[in-house]
Every structure is written in C-alpha cells, then in structure tokens.
Amino acid sequence: MRLELRGITKRFGSFTANDRIDLTVEPGQIHSLLGENGAGKTTLMNVLFGLLHPDEGEILIDGEPVRFANSGDAVRRGIGMVHQHFMLVPVFSVTENVVLGFEPTKSLDRVDYKRATADIVRLSQQFNLQVDPDATVENLPVGLQQRVEILKALSRDAELLILDEPTAVLTPQETDALMAIMRSLAAAGKSILFITHKLKEVRAVADVITVIRDGRVVGSAEPTATESELASLMVGRDVELTVEKSAFSPGESVFEIRDLVVRDDRGLVKVNGVSLDVRAGEIMALAGVQGNGQTELVEAIAGMRHVESGTILLNGRDVTNRTPREVLDAGLGHIPEDRQRDGLVMSMSVADNLVLNTPRRAPFARRGTRNLAAVHDNAVRLAHDFDIRTTSVEEPVSSLSGGNQQKVIVARELSRPLEFLMASQPTRGLDVGSIEYVHRQVVNHRNQGNAALIVSSELDEVLALGDRIAVMFDGRISGIVEPTASREAIGLLMAGTTGAADE
C-alpha cells in the first residue's frame, strides 16, 4: 500500500500539534518517524488511524483520498496499529484477543474459535510470528505480547502497520527479533511506519527517515546519517550525546543493601535476595527491562514498601523499614519513577513542591507555622539555579512541561545536603535537552564525591552514566559489569543469562 499524507494540520485550541505535515510511505518500505516526545508524532498517528480528525490536509491511499470517521474505517482500509501500551485483554487467550471485534461466527452468534485458531496458525507461519494461540496473554512475556498485537493487525489484512514506540518495553534481544520481523514484513510487501525517538534503531532498520519537531517536518535523512546528525535534526541544535565525567576515584562505601527480599502488592516476591553497594564518587547504574523488580527495590529503599528480609545501610546506619521521612532525613535524595504520582503534588505550587520534603525545617517553618516568604525566596532562587521555566513559582506545578516538572524534583533533591542520590527512570518522557540537563546534574553530584544509584531501562542512559552497571533480572542481580561492556553482554544479562557475568 502506498500511503500519502498531504499538508496534515491538527490544532488543539491555539496550539498546533501538526503543522502541514507531508509524508509518503511506499509499499514494502520501513519509514521511520523520528521526533522527541511532544513533537507531534502521536497526534499524527492518531489522525492517520482515525482517532482524531485533521483540521486541514488529506490522506491518500494508493492515490485515492480517504476520510476516516473512526479507527474501524482505518482498519477496513488496511491500516493496522501496534500501540505503545498494548491493547490486549490480559485474561483473554491469544485467539480471543486476535479476533476481538472481528470474530468469525457460527449460528447463534457463536464465535468460531476453530476457524480463528486456524487463521492465526496460518498467519504466524506465514510471517514467522510463532505464538501459542491458546496461551493466556498475561502469561506471555512482553515480546510475545507484541507479536500478538502484530498478528491482530495482520489478521485484519493490514497493509500498513504503524508501530508506536515499539521497543520501549523490550530487551535488546527482543528488539533485534522485532527488527527481523519488521524486515520480513516489509519483504512481504507490507509498509511499516515506525515511530521512535531511539536513534540506533532508526539507523538499523529504516529505509527512509522523516524527522519532525514542534509539529513540523524538519527534514528527512538516510539511514546512513550519524546519530549526532539525527539528534541535532531532532532537537534543532547540536547535542552532546555523551556526558563529561571526571576521573573515577571511588571512596568509601556509602550505601549498601544486603540480601534484600521485597514483595509486590500481590504478595509475589519481586526482589529476591539483592545485594549492592555504592561508593562515594560513584554512579551505580541499575539496568534491566521494566518489571524485573527495580520498582519494588527502589520503593523499599525509599521506605515506601515493606522489606521482608535483608538490610539497607545508609552511611552505616540501618534504615531498613524506616518511614520515608526517616530515610530522607538520613540523607537520601530520591527522584521517583512516577514523578506525577510520587514526586510532586500536581495541584500545589512550584514553590510548595520545592520544599515538599523539608516543610518543617527552618527556615521554611518556625514554631509550627510556615514561613511563606522563605518558601517563596527559596523557589525563586532554585528556579533560577536549575533553569525551571515557569511564569511564576506560585503557579501549580501541573502547568509545567514534563521536563520542567522533573527539574523541580531534581532541584528539590539536589539543593539539600545529601549522602546518596537515588534516581529512578530520571529521564523517562523528557526531551533531549532536558535529558542532557538531568544527566549533567547527576554527574556533577557524583563529581563532588557523592554516591548515586540510577535505575533505568534505557541502555544508552545506563552506559552514559554508570561507573559500574548492575543488571537486574527476575528479582536478582544477574551481573555487575564495567561500562565498557558490550551492549550484547548487557542485553544477555537483561534476559537473565548469568553465565557471562560470573567469570
């Protein structure tokens, strides 16, 4: 299928999310749409998939203009979408998920599961997408769930597949497998629109690259372009992809956990005997695919989750199963994974959020009453020092962009005396500029001789920041490697292959 977008414009009030976007995808082509978060990629895809209606411009399929009233129309015209957050019913079988909404039926409205299963088996053989049709989706690993999504699109005779940030939740090996699938689909004549902000993947798989920024197409590139060329096109200026670090000279151990066991809300053991130590002047990066216990580990360290057994030592003090207040007072700085839930009170002002963990301390409070002038002055100073862009520090923090919200947290945590900084997914969802900024702050903290633990599922981030890299898989540390280790070696550890690290 040949898809052409001509002058697509979509406005939300006074904000133009897509501004006269032109894009052509040829049959059998893998077309990458590269752009930062907030550049307008998702809006464009929603327009293309019939979930939003463009204010101007037209969509042509094989030269013929089409209008989609809803996603059903788009599906009928051969467009399939693999959403970033899978649209699968966890308790349904693979077959039930694939046929949902397009069921073959027998008499009495009965679903013809026999035929449905046969169709799935045929499709998965044709495109080399092996998956058990009777398996329950929630029991499948993420990579296989994604296959189910792709099968779902193919079973509706999709000729063009939109993959929206498909690698965000995959291990490097699963990513490689996905790329192989994409290539074989393209070879079979399917067109693929691959949305991402990851430069390596674009270069590895794309035939054509279109870069968008601030809702506009700012250029196209060949896959032979270098990463820094792509990055500067995407951001609009030259970007430092690597962070300058001073020489590594670790000191005493500041933070230590021993044989930690932590359960999740369902009572399952998610951290299963983890031991780690972080020294002064060192960044320990904790890598791993999401959901392997990192979240629970971080929550346990921050005092937000009960520790079943094991100990957490901060500067030699036992802080196991202390309240968050006590752990923070012991010198932990915490940049939480979900900043809007655990890091900020969205409806409160920037100034109040900046003293969220020190509200009772002088000079912000005196004899049990708040000193609002001190809170305000503190906020004005931090907004300046940490480059928080806001019209006023008395604005609610919810009015800030994601990058500036994160800066509020970073400013709050780094502006008080810390023994140890723990940051979880500190740059998730941020634009390249903000990522650069957060990385520089973390490295400064380390260069001053402090310890930090950075939890991230972004391999690039782990490699850029870590002085040592611990990899977590299935509740355990599957290995600790030097930052010079190959991506493949780390990838294997992320998939739970421990052999390489034990030597």
């Binding site: 809803n70 996603s71 059903g72 599906v75 979408m81 959403h83 899978f86 649209m87 699968l88 019913v89 966890p90 308790v91 349904f92 039930e96 046929v99 949902l100 909404g101 397009f102 069921e103 039926t105 009495l108 409205d109 009965r110 679903v111 929630e138 029991n139 499948l140 690993p141 779902k152 369902r266 009572g267 399952l268 053991v269 299963n272 299935d474 509740g475 739970g496």
Partner: protein
C-alpha cells in the same frame, strides 16, 4: 511470566489453599464439638422427605429417616475434617471452592440434625428435608436472579449495587399487575420494565456523567425503599385490591416432579423458577460462547482495548446494565409471587446477599448459582430454625453468607478476580 514468578504465584495460592483448608477443618471441629457432642448419646433426629400434602399411599412416598443425632453429626464432622485434610495435603489446583461449598452444606446439615434432635425415644420434632429445600428454593431463586443481574452488569464493568432496589421496584409493580390482571406474565414483564428502568438510571449516571457507581446504586436502593413505603401507604393501604397478589401457581412437570426428594424441589415450581433455570443456561452460553459475550467481557476487562477494535463500550454497558436490571426486576416479582403480596422493605438485604453470591461464584453464572443455593439454605434456615431448640441467636446464621463472602473477597479461597475494569468509569477520548 517468568518461571520464578510462576512458582512464587503458586506458592502464594498454596498458602491460600492451606488457609481455606484450615477454615474447613475449624468448621468440621466446631461441628464435632458443638453439634455431635452437644447432643446426648441417645438423641434422635427424624427426617421426612415428602412434600407436606403428599398422601402416604402414593407410590413415591418415602418413609421417615431417624438417625442417632450424635452418630450422624460425628460422621458429618469427620467427612468435613477429611475434606479439609485432603485439601490441606493435596492442595488441588482446582475445585477448592467446590470442597468449601460442600463443607458449608454439610455444616448446615449437621446444624439441622443437632437443632432437630429429640432427647427421648419418641421424636419431638421432625425435619421435613423436602419442605426445607422447597422453602429455601424461594430464597435461592431470588438470589439467583439477583446474582445473574450482578454478573451481567459487572462483566461489562458496571457495579450494580442497586439490585436490592430493583427487587423492591419489581415486587411493587409486580404485585399491582398480578392483583389487577391476575396474570403473572404481565407482572413479570412489568417487573422487568421497572428493573430495567432503574438499571438505565444507574447506567445513565455512571456512563454519561461518570458518577461513582456505588454511590448512585446505594442512593437508588435508599430512594426505592422510601418510595415504595410511601406508595404502599398511599396506594396499597387505601386500595388493598391492588395488593392482593396471589401465589404464583406451581406447574408440576409430569414424571420428573415425582422423583423422590428432588423432584418436588426442582420440578414442581412456579413459572419463575423455570424461567430462572432457562436464564442460567442462556446467560452462561451468551457470555462464554458468543461474540456478544466476548465483547461484554472485553469491555469489562479492558475497555480501551475494546474501543480500539471498534466496540462501542458505552453501548455495551448500557445494554448490559439495563438487561441486568430487568433480570433483578423479575427477581423482585418472583419474590413477591412466592410471598403472596408486597410489603415494604421485605427483601431485607437479599439484593446484597445476591451480590455476595456473585462474588463467591467468581462472576460466573454457574458459580453464582452454587453460591445462591448455599446462601439461600442458610438464610432460610435462619428464618425457620426458631421452631427448634437452638440456644444460639439465629442472627448468627444470618451472618453466614457475609462471613463466607468476606473470606472469599479477602482472597482466602482460590484466586478471585473481578473484571479488571469493574466499577471504573470509562472516559471516551
């Protein structure tokens, strides 16, 4: 799910199975100590197995069974303890709920034997088991209608806590129509319309205005309770001819109704009972075999995923909540038709017990039916045991369904999981 996670998951469920096995054991021991050894060794309990009006000369008449109370209760208690031990040791992956249900029934039977014991050689009181089952089948029937209503609504993701209100509304209108037309078909239709309308109000607030479904439901129950009391005072008191009601006639199915003990319970019932049997089958089939059911379950689990494949989430929910309301409305008429007329607030919380039955039955029609039978029996026993010598308050027995439900909801019995989007408002954007 990784191997470790699976083994951890099964470790957790193993612990739950052990806890439930211990509960079964405690119930068994309680029966042994209180019931078995609470009777003198010479006490007897006598059981009858015939409908009250059956002539003794009928060929299908079954004789009286007299048991030594202590011996019988010791045996029952031992069976319960054996079931508990078997569950504890083998930790079966399936059927734990059935074992627990079995222990619950045996417990009620042991209670009955103990309550009806006669110390001397000649029986002081008889337990007519068949009459008991027939009596409890009226409560069970209402609970089945209610829990099926709950299954319909909650599988699509809307909590219908207004079942009690739909019972009241259905009973009121049902009595009026039955009294004036003397035709229970009209009464059933009227009850369905009223129940469906109450369901529609719930759906309207929940789906259009995204109101909290529990609050809307509770408000509806409270409002209908007061409204029906008011209308009862204004209409039924001055014009009793509108609330004469009558008992729905029994339609005996030839031959089947003559089967001893179970025949009269299952096959000599009112039309409402047979309607209930049909509904059980139809709803099970519709939910788990048809395209419609697949859509309903998808909407209840992951509405956004359903919407992306073109399913109209809001419409599916409207349809199910209105249908569910109609089923509960008919349940209200059925209750009225088994009591003879309408009285204010006489459903006395059956709507909530029906919801408990739905949870105990894991949001499945078949499970809801099993739970309704157990709960119906215990509710009915608490009404009738006053005629026996029981030294404990019968309100304790009325707590039984709720105690079981708390155990279930606390996750003690197997894995109980509500539809993932149950009670969650759906924002269409």
């Amino acid at each position: 799910m990784s191997v470790t996670e699976q083994s951890v998951a099964s470790e957790v469920s193993n612990r739950r199975v052990r806890v439930i096995a211990l509960m079964m054991g405690v119930i068994g021991l309680f029966s042994l100590v209180v019931f078995a050894f609470g009777s003198v060794s010479s006490a007897h309990s006598s059981f009858l197995f015939n409908p009250v009006n059956l002539s003794e000369s009928a060929p299908w008449h079954v004789g009286t069974l007299t048991l030594n109370s202590r011996l019988a209760d010791v045996l029952l208690a031992l069976v319960m303890i054996a079931l508990a031990a078997e569950t504890f040791i083998r930790r079966p992956a399936r059927g734990v709920m059935w074992r627990f249900g079995g222990v619950a029934v045996l417990f009620l039977l042991a209670l009955l034997i103990w309550a009806a014991r006669s110390p001397g050689p000649s029986p002081v009181s008889f337990v007519n088991l068949t009459a008991l089952l027939i009596g409890s089948s009226e409560v069970t029937m209402v609970l089945v209608f209610g829990s099926l209503s709950g299954v319909m609504c909650e599988r699509s993701g809307v909590v219908n806590i207004a079942i009690e209100g739909q019972f009241i509304g259905g009973a009121f209108v049902g009595s009026m129509l039955a009294s004036t037309t003397h035709n229970f078909i009209y009464a059933a239709i009227g009850g369905a319309v009223v129940g469906g309308a109450i369901g529609w109000i719930l759906a309207f607030f929940a789906l259009r205005y995204l109101s909290d479904q529990i609050i809307v439901g509770v408000v509806l129950v409270t409002m209908l309770g007061s409204l029906s009391s008011y209308l009862n005072l204004q209409v039924f008191t001055p014009f009793p001819q509108y609330n004469t009601g009558t008992l729905a006639p029994n339609l005996a199915i030839p031959l089947l109704s003559k089967i001893p003990v179970v025949g009269p319970v299952l096959f000599n019932q009112s039309g409402f009972f047979y309607l209930m049997l049909i509904l059980i089958g139809v709803i099970s089939f519709a939910l788990f075999k048809t395209r419609y059911g697949l859509h309903v379950r998808a909407v209840g689990e992951h509405p956004r995923a359903a919407a992306t494949v073109g399913i109209n989430v809001v419409r599916v929910r409207y349809v199910n909540v209105v249908l569910g309301g109609a089923i509960a409305g008919v349940g209200g008429v059925a209750f009225m038709a088994s009591q003879g007329q309408f009285q204010p607030n006489y459903t006395s919380g059956l709507g909530y017990i029906a919801l408990a039955a739905m949870i105990f039955g894991r949001w499945r029609p078949s499970g809801a039916v099993v739970a309704s039978v157990i709960f119906g029996l215990s509710v009915y026993l608490s009404y009738t045991l006053t005629s026996y010598q029981v030294p404990v308050s019968l309100y304790v027995l009325q707590m039984f369904p709720y105690l079981i439900t708390i155990a279930v909801v606390a996750g003690l019995i197997g894995r109980v999981r509500a539809p993932a989007a149950d009670g969650v408002a759906y924002h269409h954007d």
